[in-house]
């Protein structure tokens, strides 16, 4: 119990420092008020045109499709991070040395930073964008099952962090990770249903995607938000898919653990 309490204290401390650090750049965050709605607006035009004469497409009605993209967008602002860029920057510059010298898991430290950063993002990105969707686009982003949605979004918060963090760990082996990180980001977003709902992919592909961690980053929480989950022709109850999501958190924890153990041995502190 004591160690959980002290971990929470550390988390709070690091989160608040990160909040203050990034509060200086809140004008950068406010850009999301333009970027998010702009991308969404494009989707509005696309799907309005494409749905002409169709009731459903890929299992969605027009309204459902717009809800999908809207939910995707706001959930992104709740869960996004750039832990991969951060970690590779620290390793490349050698500054990582100062973190190894601390009696704290860097992964937990980076996670606490994400908490602080997203707290700021909640105020300056999520809330305004949600309001814009509600009042300007008339998209009522209210979850079908609030409690399960909250849990699912929280879990995807963690999974996305672990995926990005694992990508950052690759910097132990490669001097420049720009290419591999871009590739992983591309795959992650594509296979998470960010560009188009996963139900549009061929069924065989969907069945494979079920076992990858990517769908749990966006597709799953968005589906839970919308109230029903279905992939590869199989429908799954909300509580069950959220439980599977929790299981994926454990899997990713093990993956980062393993990568870390292998990678830290390679760290030479060059460039300090």
């Amino acid at each position: 119990m004591r160690s959980i309490r002290s971990s929470l204290k550390t988390l709070r401390a690091v989160a608040f420092v990160t909040w203050k650090e990034w509060a200086a750049y809140r004008s950068h965050m406010l850009l999301s008020l333009v970027v998010g709605p702009a991308f969404f607006l494009a989707q509005v035009f696309i799907w309005h045109a494409v749905f002409a004469g169709q009731e459903t497409l890929g299992g969605f009605t027009l309204e459902g499709m717009l809800l999908y993209y809207g939910a995707s967008s706001v959930i992104y602002y709740l869960t996004m991070d750039f832990a991969d860029w951060n970690l590779q920057m620290l390793i490349r510059s050698g500054r990582f040395l100062t973190y190894i010298l601390r009696p704290m898991s860097h992964r937990f430290f980076a996670f606490s930073q994400k908490v602080g950063h997203r707290m700021l993002g909640f105020v300056f990105e999520f809330l305004p964008v949600w309001l814009i969707f509600f009042f300007v686009f008339r998209i009522r982003l209210i979850p079908a099952e609030p409690v399960w949605t909250l849990i699912s979004v929280a879990l995807s918060f963690v999974i996305l962090f672990l995926i990005n963090y694992s990508t950052g760990i690759l910097a132990f082996w490669m001097t420049r990770t720009d290419g591999i990180r871009a590739l992983i980001r591309l795959l992650r977003d594509l296979l998470a249903g960010v560009f188009i709902p996963l139900s549009f992919f061929p069924e065989a592909v969907q069945k494979v995607l079920f076992f990858l961690p990517f769908q749990f980053v966006s597709y799953v929480p968005v589906r839970v938000f919308l109230g029903s989950y279905e992939l590869g022709g199989v429908a799954i109850d909300i509580p069950v898919i959220v439980a599977i999501q929790a299981g994926m958190v454990l899997v990713m924890l093990l993956v980062t653990d393993l990568l870390w153990r292998l990678g830290i041995r390679k760290f030479t502190g060059a460039g300090v």
């Binding site: 004008s27 045109a49 749905f51 497409l57 720009d178 290419g179 591999i180 871009a182 590739l183």
Partner: protein, 261 residues
């Protein structure tokens, strides 16, 4: 006199190549990824048509043609002009832009050449391939169509150059904001789709205001033999847009150097 600038250009290309070659593996990966990233929109279009629907008035090949042209224009403009944005970003943050101003050349030329990124040419290759692929599946365009296509693609590259100028210039005052590129992407997204999905007023805005339609839609329509009056208004609009970008760049440089003469 002229050959000095050519020498500068070739040596910049060589430097860009040498810089990238220093990290071979990453280069190959980045080269591939930038190409793959551009395939997402065509992929989505493919999946939409596969699902049994369409953009009204456009077959799949026709819609893909727009995206192929976008890829081509981007593939030429980005490697040449957009590295400049990151150069200015770094130099504004570190305060090293003085070094560029200390050289007896136009800072625009120097920054552009310093930013040439040969990795971006994968998009151009991809664009050429995709355009060839889609044009192949369509009725052959007449010569006039090709000529207009070349004109429009040139204007398209000019517009993208204008965007690069505006982005880079804004970094002189909005120092360290890495998200300006995101902002541009959220605007460019509207240039990748058939114009018919937008309401008429918006179509006109994209032809005469910020000429987004000239970037990919109009060149594609030229090859398809579809002409609209908006196209011809978009021609001067493109020149105005690029000119505005250039003026903005000059203004920001002067502001960086402390204003007024």
């Amino acid at each position: 006199m002229k050959h000095w600038t050519w020498m500068l250009f070739t040596r910049s290309l060589r430097t860009s190549f040498a810089e990238r070659a220093a990290y071979r593996g990453d280069f190959i990966l980045s080269f591939t990824v930038s190409f793959l990233l551009e395939l997402i929109t065509p992929l989505v279009t493919l999946l939409i048509y596969n699902a049994g629907t369409s953009f009204p008035g456009w077959t799949m090949e026709e819609a893909l043609l727009i995206q192929a042209v976008f890829l081509l224009a981007r593939g030429i403009a980005f490697p040449l002009f957009f590295g400049m944005v990151w150069i200015v970003f770094d130099q504004a943050v570190q305060g090293t832009f003085e070094i560029t101003l200390l050289k007896p050349r136009s800072p625009l030329l120097l920054t552009m050449l310093r930013g040439i990124d040969i990795e971006g040419f994968s998009r151009m290759l991809g664009g050429i391939l995709l355009v060839a692929f889609t044009v192949n599946r369509l009725p052959a365009p007449p010569l006039s169509g090709w000529l207009l296509f070349i004109l429009f693609v040139s204007l398209s590259i000019l517009i993208l150059f204008g965007f690069a100028l505006i982005l880079a210039a804004s970094l002189f005052v909005w120092i360290g904001n890495a998200r300006v590129i995101e902002l541009m992407e959220s605007i460019l997204v509207f240039s990748r789709y058939p114009g018919t999905i937008f309401a008429k007023p918006l179509q006109w805005a994209f032809a005469v205001g910020i000429p987004l339609s000239m970037i990919a839609l109009f060149p594609a329509e030229a090859l398809l033999g579809r002409f609209s009056i908006q196209m011809f208004f978009a021609i001067p609009a493109s020149l105005v847009f690029a000119g505005a970008g250039y003026l903005f760049w000059n203004r920001m440089i002067r502001r960086y150097a402390g204003g007024g003469g």
